[in-house]
């Protein structure tokens, strides 16, 4: 049975995953945090916390709020900055079998370019995921993702600054995701992650104030799965690069739905908080499904649900 996935077929370095189950940025730290709980080396890939040029302290608390079948987060890209990541964290990854993809974010195109250029050639880093879709920082990020032109400009800047395989993580908070997808693929994206969180909020009726310190946040978890699933379907009809499905995936059935809708791989995020075993259970569940259905290679079922 062949579960391997190539996420960057046109990139000189390529990005081959042993299996399609990745963990989503922001939900898995830098990989070490969960290494004492599950065997992280069995994952298809790890996408680390969003990384910026300078350290960021993140947003005011509270930063998370549970909602029906989901959660809002507004962490605000707290991270130690790209130099600390390269100095302190990448050397650990270099010893790992599992590929690690660094999620990057910025407030300007120059910042994206600079972060990408510093990551180029660093041992232990297998790819870059460009976050043009974080709803939780004041300047930048989500703005880039909502404009096809700016999204393409960011992608091109990162493309020119690094030879690493390049994934771009799209926002669902747009009218036509296909237009943005086409623009970033034209600008050099090797793969697309579909999608980031949906913008939302919660109100504390006793305090009569928003629950989150940041007022609004990003909704994730099972509540958004049907939305993300449709966006994967829509994007896979618009472009011809590998798609990584992300949004509320909690079971092998969810993952297979995304794959049949057009995703070559999936990212598990919020489900990890509930059950740190979720990602590996999903992997086993996909293998069981393939065995049961006589599927020899995973790529056979990618996009099968498309008419």
């Amino acid at each position: 049975m062949d579960l391997r996935v190539q996420l960057a077929p046109k990139n000189r370095l390529g990005l081959t995953l042993g299996n399609p189950v990745m963990v989503a940025s922001g939900t898995f730290g830098y990989g070490m945090e969960y290494a004492g709980v599950i065997d992280v080396q069995r994952l298809g890939a790890i996408v680390c916390k969003g990384t910026t040029l300078k350290p960021r302290p993140g947003n005011a608390e509270p930063r998370v709020a549970e909602t029906a079948s989901g959660m809002l987060n507004a962490i605000g890209l707290e991270n130690p900055g790209v130099d600390a990541l390269i100095r302190d964290i990448a050397p650990v990854w270099a010893e790992w079998r599992v590929p690690v993809i660094v999620n990057i974010a910025g407030e300007s195109i120059d910042e994206y370019r600079e972060v990408a250029s510093r990551l180029d050639g660093v041992d232990g880093i297998s790819g870059i995921e460009v976050n043009i879709s974080c709803p939780n920082i004041e300047k930048g990020s989500v703005e880039f993702g909502t404009s096809p032109d700016l999204a393409a400009e960011v992608t091109e800047a990162v493309r020119n600054a690094s030879s690493l395989p390049l994934m771009v993580k799209l926002t669902p908070n747009v009218t036509d995701i296909g237009v943005v997808a086409k623009a970033v693929v034209r600008a050099g994206a090797d793969a697309l992650t579909v999608c980031n969180t949906l913008r939302g909020m919660a109100v504390d009726i006793v305090r009569r104030r928003p629950v989150l310190g940041n007022i609004c946040g990003g909704l994730s978890g099972p509540a958004i799965k049907p939305v993300a699933l449709y966006l994967v379907y829509a994007v896979s009809k618009a472009v011809d690069v590998p798609i990584v499905g992300c949004g509320g995936i909690s079971s092998a059935t969810d993952a297979i739905e995304f794959i049949m809708a057009g995703a070559s791989a999936v990212q598990v995020g919020t489900a990890t908080f509930l059950d740190p075993r979720a990602c590996l259970n999903i992997l086993v569940g996909i293998e069981d499904f393939m065995a049961r259905e006589n599927i020899l290679t995973l790529s056979e079922i990618v996009g099968q649900a498309r008419a």
Partner: protein, 260 residues
């Protein structure tokens, strides 16, 4: 740190809205330190996507206990578990309290449900030969923890806000009476209690004070960065660097620190 399915041995209402639950968890029982916590899954479907962080309240052989207040949908679900049910636990987590080598006399300050981690600390410290004074503060006598379940060693002082049992007032009102006699103090309670401790810090001389913080958490192991606080030594994560911090190390600032 273990990820386990644990059998519920008992789960009874002890006080208004407050439950005591014993779980069979040998690995956790043999490795947990006072002040550490566990993340408990509080349902068996996908409606609630976050675990709930609860302090370890007591350890007895292979068993661990949680003292918790049923205030939301998650803890109410927990309150409905019966003997024989399974609970999914991730733990023990966090740093726990630390008694420094020279400390002999310890003062423990419990505000309301803040007794949860302090009973474990009191019992553990007393068994190691420390002298323990435990101040147990509640609103009224109905909320006072049953005396027969309180640590049998050491000195327990009951305090109620309305004076219906023991001394009348807040735990922090009695600091100046007890603090001069101790080497170290440990507190768990609402944020207002910690701010009051900061206000009366002068009357405690240089007694080091450790406090256990309660904030919203996502993962419990330092991955999601939901529970960040500001300290004099930079940003810290309550789940991984805490939940126990030096009172003086926390940047209390103007904004609330414990938002749950």
């Amino acid at each position: 740190m273990f990820l386990l399915k644990c059998q519920v041995l008992s789960n009874e209402q002890l006080l208004p809205r407050t439950y005591l639950m014993w779980l069979e968890a040998p690995q956790v029982a043999s490795s947990v330190r006072p002040g550490q916590f566990a993340m408990l899954r509080c349902h068996d479907d996908l409606v609630r996507v976050l675990r709930r962080p609860l302090s370890i309240h007591a350890v007895d052989g292979d068993r661990v206990a949680f003292l918790y207040r049923a205030i939301g949908a998650g803890t109410r679900w927990l309150a409905n578990r019966r003997r024989g049910d399974e609970i999914d636990m991730l733990g023990p987590l966090g740093n726990g309290f630390s008694i420094t080598g020279r400390s002999r006399r310890l003062l423990l300050l419990a505000g309301g449900i803040g007794l949860a981690p302090l009973k474990f600390l009191a019992e553990s410290a007393a068994s190691q030969g420390h002298q323990v004074v435990l101040l147990v503060g509640t609103r009224n006598t109905a909320e006072q923890y049953p005396i027969d379940l309180l640590p049998s060693h050491g000195h327990v002082v009951k305090i109620t806000e309305d004076g219906s049992a023991g001394k009348k007032g807040l735990v922090t009102d009695f600091i100046s009476e007890f603090a001069p006699e101790v080497d170290q103090a440990f507190a768990c309670g609402p944020e207002g209690m910690y701010r009051e401790l900061m206000r009366v810090r002068g009357s405690m001389q240089s007694v080091p004070v450790q406090v256990s913080l309660e904030v919203r958490m996502g993962c419990g192991i330092g991955a999601c960065l939901s529970c960040t606080i500001r300290t004099n030594s930079g940003l810290k994560h309550v789940c991984k660097d805490g939940p126990v911090f030096d009172l003086d190390d926390i940047d209390w600032g103007a904004a609330p620190v414990c938002r749950i």
